[in-house]
C-alpha cells in the first residue's frame, strides 16, 4: 500500500501520544516508562509516530515540501514497532508502523534518498549484503564445517546465517554453534554458504521495496530449488523477513528462529545440560523476534461501517499487536540452563525497548543508535544482572559497541552461546 492509502490512519490519529510510551498499563517506574527511542532522542514531536502521521498527512495535502529535516524525521527511527504496539492496545484501525514504512517508500520512490542509505543499498546491489563488505567473503564463517551446500545439494532445512553474522567474525561462532546443534539433533540441514544473499529485510525497512522484493524472490527460488521446507535463522531481522514479509510474496516455508529450535530440542530431551552457569542474566527481546515475530496472516477485505459510524472490516481483519511473538521460548531456554538466574527488565516482550540498530539507523545515525543501546544497557544494569542475553546479532553488536565505548562491564551474550556453554 502506498502512503496515500493510509490517509484514514493519519486522520484517525487522536494525537494521544500513547506511541511515545510503553503500554501505560506496564509502566513500573519513571525511568523506564518511555517506549520510543526516536522522540526521546529527537525531541520534537515530529519524531514520534503521531508526529510522523501528521507529517505524512501534511505531505499528502501539499502543505510541505521535501527538506533535509523531513528526511531526518522519516529516517531517525529504528522502525522498531514500539509505537505500533502501544497504539494498538486501544485502537483497531491504526497502523502507525505501516505509515512510517510507507513514508520511507514514498521518499525513496520520489528520489529523496538519505546519502548514508544510498551507499549501503549500492553495496547491497553489488555484493548482496548490508554490511558494506565483499560477497566473496560471505560463507567464511562455515569454513571447515561439515554441512550440506544447498547450491549443490538438497535439504529439508536451510540455516540462514544472515548478513551480520556472516561478516562479523566475532559472531561466526553463533552460526557454527547453531548448525552443529541442528546437525547433532539429526536435522537434515544445509547452508547457502558464500551464495547466501541478504534477506532484504533492512532494505524493506529503509523504504527500498524493490530491493527487498528482488532479494526475497531470489531466496525463495533458491530454497525451492534446494527442496527446503523449513528456514532457520539466528538473526531476528531475517526471522521477521522470512516469517512476516516473504509469505506476502507467496513463500510457504516454515520459519523458525534458532531459539525456537533449541527450545523444541530441550523439550524433547535432545539437548541436555551438563554444566552449570552461575550467572544473573536479563533477556533483551529483539524487536523483530518479539513484537514483530508474529507470522503473516493474509487478509483481503473491506472496511465498512456498522451502527452509523463504527468502523469494522469484512471479513474480520487480523491485527498484529505483537502479543504472540517469540517470548516464551527464549525464556524457557534460559531458565532451563542450570545455575542461570533470569531477571526481567521493566520493558519486555511486546513493549521491549529497542537495541537501536534497526531501520537503517545504525548506518545513518550511529550516535542515535548507540544512545538507544546505552539506554537499554542502563535498564539491564538496573536489574542487577551481570549479563544481557539476546537472540539477534544486530542487537548484540550494538550492545557490544556501546559497552566498549563506555567502559561498561556488562557481559553480552547470544542465547546460543550460553546453551553451548552449558551442554
Amino acid at each position: 500500500m502506498a502512503l496515500e492509502d493510509y490517509r484514514a490512519v493519519m486522520e484517525r490519529c487522536a494525537r494521544g501520544s500513547f506511541c511515545k510510551w510503553i503500554p501505560l498499563a506496564h509502566i513500573k517506574s519513571w525511568r523506564f516508562a518511555k517506549g520510543c527511542p526516536s522522540i526521546e532522542y529527537g525531541g520534537f514531536h515530529s519524531y514520534s509516530a503521531t508526529g510522523r502521521l501528521a507529517v505524512s498527512l501534511s505531505l499528502l495535502e501539499g502543505r510541505i515540501n521535501y527538506t533535509d529535516e523531513l528526511l531526518k524525521i522519516a529516517y531517525k527511527c529504528q522502525v522498531c514497532g514500539a509505537c505500533d504496539v502501544s497504539c494498538k492496545v486501544c485502537r483497531d484501525v491504526m497502523e502507525t508502523l505501516e505509515v512510517i514504512r510507507a513514508l520511507r517508500v514514498k521518499l525513496v520512490e520520489d528520489g529523496q534518498l538519505l546519502p548514508e542509505h544510498m551507499y549501503v543499498i549500492e553495496n547491497l546491489r553489488k555484493e548482496d549484503n548490508m554490511m558494506m563488505k565483499s560477497k566473496a567473503e560471505r560463507g567464511k564463517w562455515a569454513e571447515g564445517l561439515d554441512v550440506k551446500d544447498l547450491t549443490k545439494e538438497s535439504a529439508e532445512v536451510v540455516f540462514h546465517a544472515g548478513c551480520h553474522i556472516s561478516f562479523d567474525e566475532d559472531q561466526w561462532k553463533l552460526a557454527r554453534a547453531a548448525v552443529n546443534l541442528l546437525k547433532n539433533a539429526g536435522i537434515d540441514v544445509g547452508i547457502m554458504g558464500k551464495d547466501e544473499a541478504c534477506c532484504g529485510g533492512k532494505a524493506y525497512d529503509m523504504g527500498y521495496r524493490g530491493e527487498f522484493t528482488k532479494y526475497a524472490q531470489n531466496n525463495i527460488e533458491a530454497w525451492n530449488r534446494a527442496g527446503v521446507k523449513i528456514v532457520v535463522t539466528s538473526c531476528s531481522d531475517g526471522y521477521f523477513a522470512f516469517n512476516r514479509l516473504y509469505p506476502q510474496l507467496g513463500s510457504r516455508f516454515e520459519v523458525l528462529h534458532t531459539v525456537e529450535f533449541i527450545h523444541r530440542l530441550i523439550k524433547k530431551g535432545k539437548i541436555k545440560f551438563s554444566k552449570t552457569i552461575p550467572m544473573r542474566v536479563t533477556y533483551h527481546d529483539p524487536c523483530h523476534l518479539g513484537r514483530m515475530g508474529e507470522p503473516y496472516i493474509p487478509w483481503e477485505g473491506i472496511e465498512k461501517k456498522i451502527r452509523g459510524q463504527i468502523i469494522v472490516h469484512e471479513p474480520s481483519k487480523p491485527i498484529m499487536r505483537g502479543g504472540n511473538g517469540i517470548y516464551k521460548q527464549p525464556r524457557e531456554v534460559l531458565r532451563s540452563i542450570p545455575g542461570l538466574e533470569l531477571i526481567e527488565m521493566e520493558r519486555v516482550k511486546e513493549y521491549s525497548w529497542c537495541c537501536g540498530a534497526g531501520g537503517g539507523v545504525k548506518e545513518a545515525y550511529p550516535d542515535f543508535s548507540l544512545w538507544t543501546a546505552k539506554e537499554r544497557l542502563e535498564e539491564a544494569k538496573a536489574t542487577g544482572a551481570e549479563a544481557i542475553v539476546s537472540a539477534c546479532p544486530w542487537c548484540e553488536r550494538n550492545f557490544i559497541d556501546t559497552s566498549n565505548g563506555n567502559g561498561e562491564r556488562m557481559k553480552i551474550y547470544d542465547i546460543i552461546e550460553l546453551v553451548q556453554q552449558a551442554i
Binding site: 484517525r12 494521544g16 503521531t50 481483519k317
Partner: protein, 543 residues
C-alpha cells in the same frame, strides 16, 4: 507571519540550535491535533506555529517569555499537548514543548506530596508513588496526561476523585512563569518554606488562572508544581498479566472492582449520595458507558479475549450473555473498593451491600466474573486505556458536562443529553451507540457531592459527512445545554464558534461580570497579550 531572523536568533540563543525549529514539517506535527477538524473546517491542522521550542529549564522558559514580550509574539506552552487547546489558535504563535522538563523532583513520602515538572505523566508519578505506598490522582483523560497540566491548567475530575480529589484540589505550591516573564512561586514556596502549601500568604494567588476550567496554556507557563498524593493500599508494583490488549491485574485481597446497576435513575442518584455519605470507594466512575449503552458490553470483550477486535462487535452483540449484560448494565457505574486493612475492606463491602439493598441496586454479575473484575481494576487504577474513547469510530467529542448534584444530573442534564444525542444518532452520521453514552466520575471532587455526565459523540474524522454530522450535533448540544442554563462540554471549545455566538452566550451567561473580571486579569497579567485566547478575555469590559 514569519518570525524575523532577529527574533528566531534571540530564541535560539536561549534554547540552543538543537532545541528550536522552524522547519514546516516539524511545525505541522505541532499543528496537527485531535478534533481539529471541528474548528478548522475539516482540516486536521490547527494554525501552524511560527517555531517550536524545547526549553530545558524554568530559566529558559522565563527568557523565552520575556523575549515574547519584547517582540510582542504570542506564546503557547504545552506539557503533552493532547487537544486543540494545546496548539496555537491563531497564526503568529510560538509553541513551547515542555518535554525536556520531565523530572520528578521529590516525593515526600511522609507528608504525601510530590514535586514534578511538566512532562511527568500520571503513569510515571503513579508508578513511583506506589513504591512508597502512595498514589496520585489521574485525570479522566488518562495516565498519559501531564500531572502539572491537570493540576494547574485543565479541568480535573477523574475516576479516583471521590477519594483523591479533583486535579486542582491536589495542587499545592507551584512555580509559574507569568505572561510578563516574572516568576511567581505560590504559597509556602514563595516564602521559602517548601512545597507543602499552595495558599497564601494571605489571599491565594493560584486563584488567578485556575477556576474549574484552567487557563489551558493561555496565561503563562507552569514549570513546577507540588501535588498531593493519596494512600495506596495495594502492592508496590501492580502486577499486570495477560496478552495485549487483554491486560489485567489480579485483585489483591483488600480490593474489589464492581459494576453496579440500578433500576431507575432516581435510585441511581440515591446510590451516589449514599456512597458519598458512607465514605466508601477508592474509585467510582461511570467509565465503560462512554462506548454507549448499546455497545460497551460487547466492546470491552476486546480487553478480555485478545483474539477479539472491533470487527467482532456484531457477533458479540448477538451473544446471549452480552445481551443480558446490556440489559443488566443499564444505569450502571464502576466502583473499586480498597481497604487499608482487612477489617476496612470487610466494612466497605458490608456498607455497599446495605446501599444496594436500599436502592434496589445490584452487582452486575457478568462484570463480577474474575476476568472482568481484573480488567476493571487495572483499567480504573491505572487509567491506561483511554484511547478507548477513539476506538469505535475513529474519534469522539464530549458534550454537556455541566457539573451538579446527582439529582441534577439525572433529572436535568441527562434527559437533555439523551434527547440530543439520540436524535442525531438516528441520522447515521455519528455512531449509534445508544442515547445513553454518558461517562463521568461519580464525584468530580474529593468526598463526593459534585458530578456530571459527559455525553460521548463518536464520529469518524476521516469521513467528511461524519465530521459534519458531529458538528451539527455539537451545535445542537451546546444550544440545548444553554437553553437549560447549562454551559457546554468540550464541544464548545473544540468547534469554531462565531464571534456573534460567543458574545451572545456571554451576554446571557448567569454572571457576565466574570468575563469583565477575566479581561482585567488578562490586562494586568498579560499586558503585551502574549497569551492566546485560551484564557478568555472579551473585547468589552462592561455589561
Amino acid at each position: 507571519m514569519t518570525l524575523s531572523r532577529e527574533v528566531y536568533q534571540a530564541l535560539e540563543d536561549i534554547v540552543g540550535p538543537d532545541n528550536i525549529s522552524d522547519d514546516p514539517a516539524t511545525l505541522d506535527s505541532y499543528a496537527f491535533q485531535w478534533v481539529a477538524e471541528l474548528s478548522q473546517r475539516g482540516s486536521k491542522f490547527m494554525p501552524r506555529p511560527e517555531a517550536a521550542l524545547l526549553p530545558g529549564s524554568t530559566e529558559e522558559v522565563q527568557a523565552i517569555v520575556r523575549t515574547c514580550n519584547r517582540y510582542k509574539i504570542k506564546c503557547k506552552a504545552f506539557s503533552t499537548g493532547w487537544g486543540p487547546y494545546a496548539a496555537p489558535k491563531t497564526d503568529g504563535v510560538i509553541q513551547l514543548d515542555l518535554r525536556r522538563m520531565d523530572r520528578i523532583l521529590e516525593i515526600d513520602e511522609k507528608n504525601m506530596f510530590a514535586v514534578v515538572e511538566p512532562y511527568v505523566i500520571g503513569g510515571q508519578l503513579q508508578a513511583e508513588a506506589m513504591k512508597v505506598g502512595l498514589n496520585t490522582h489521574i485525570i479522566g483523560a488518562g495516565s498519559s496526561c501531564s500531572v502539572i497540566a491537570a493540576c494547574t491548567s485543565f479541568l480535573g475530575p477523574g475516576p479516583d476523585s471521590i477519594y483523591m480529589g479533583h486535579s486542582s484540589e491536589n495542587l499545592l505550591a507551584m512555580e509559574w512563569v507569568m505572561p510578563t516573564g516574572d516568576i511567581l512561586r505560590t504559597g509556602s514556596l514563595g516564602s521559602g518554606a517548601g512545597w507543602f502549601c499552595g495558599e497564601g500568604p494571605g489571599p491565594s494567588l493560584r486563584g488567578i488562572a485556575r477556576g474549574r476550567r484552567g487557563a489551558w496554556g493561555g496565561l503563562g507557563v507552569f514549570t513546577k508544581c507540588a501535588v498531593k498524593l493519596s494512600p495506596w493500599p495495594g502492592p508496590a508494583v501492580m502486577p499486570v498479566e495477560g496478552v495485549i490488549p487483554a491486560y489485567n491485574s489480579p485483585l489483591p485481597e483488600n480490593f474489589r472492582a464492581y459494576t453496579l446497576a440500578f433500576p431507575t435513575w432516581e435510585s441511581y442518584a440515591d446510590a451516589y449520595n449514599k456512597i458519598y455519605d458512607a465514605e466508601i470507594g477508592y474509585i467510582a466512575h461511570r467509565q465503560f458507558n462512554l462506548l454507549g449503552e448499546e455497545v460497551w458490553p460487547a466492546y470491552i470483550m476486546r480487553f478480555i479475549d485478545p483474539t477479539k477486535t472491533t470487527d467482532d462487535l456484531e457477533e458479540l452483540l448477538r451473544l446471549p450473555e452480552i445481551q443480558k449484560l446490556k440489559v443488566e448494565g443499564r444505569r450502571s457505574f464502576q466502583l473499586v473498593l480498597a481497604g487499608v486493612t482487612p477489617r476496612d475492606i470487610e466494612y466497605q463491602k458490608k456498607a455497599l451491600n446495605e446501599i444496594l439493598v436500599e436502592t434496589g441496586g445490584r452487582i452486575v454479575s457478568k462484570m463480577a466474573e474474575p476476568a472482568m473484575e481484573r480488567f476493571t481494576l487495572l483499567y480504573l487504577i491505572k487509567m491506561c486505556f483511554k484511547e478507548i474513547n477513539m476506538g469505535l469510530a475513529g474519534t469522539y467529542i464530549g458534550t454537556f458536562a455541566q457539573h451538579g448534584t446527582p439529582d441534577f444530573l439525572v433529572s436535568h442534564l441527562r434527559p437533555a443529553a439523551e434527547e440530543a444525542l439520540g436524535r442525531h444518532q438516528r441520522k447515521g452520521l455519528i455512531a449509534d451507540t445508544g442515547a445513553d453514552s454518558m461517562m463521568a466520575a461519580v464525584s468530580g471532587i474529593g468526598g463526593g457531592g459534585d458530578c456530571t455526565f459527559e455525553q460521548f459523540c463518536h464520529y469518524d474524522p476521516h469521513n467528511k459527512e461524519s465530521v459534519r454530522g458531529a458538528l451539527a450535533y455539537c451545535a445542537d448540544a451546546a444550544r440545548a445545554a444553554r437553553e437549560r442554563g447549562m454551559h457546554g462540554g468540550l464541544e464548545d471549545i473544540a468547534r469554531e464558534i462565531s464571534k456573534e455566538e460567543l458574545e451572545e452566550s456571554r451576554r446571557h451567561a448567569p454572571q457576565p461580570i466574570i468575563y469583565a473580571f477575566q479581561r482585567k486579569i488578562k490586562e494586568a497579567f498579560d499586558p503585551n497579550d502574549i497569551g492566546d485566547g485560551s484564557y478568555i478575555a472579551t473585547e468589552e469590559v462592561k455589561y
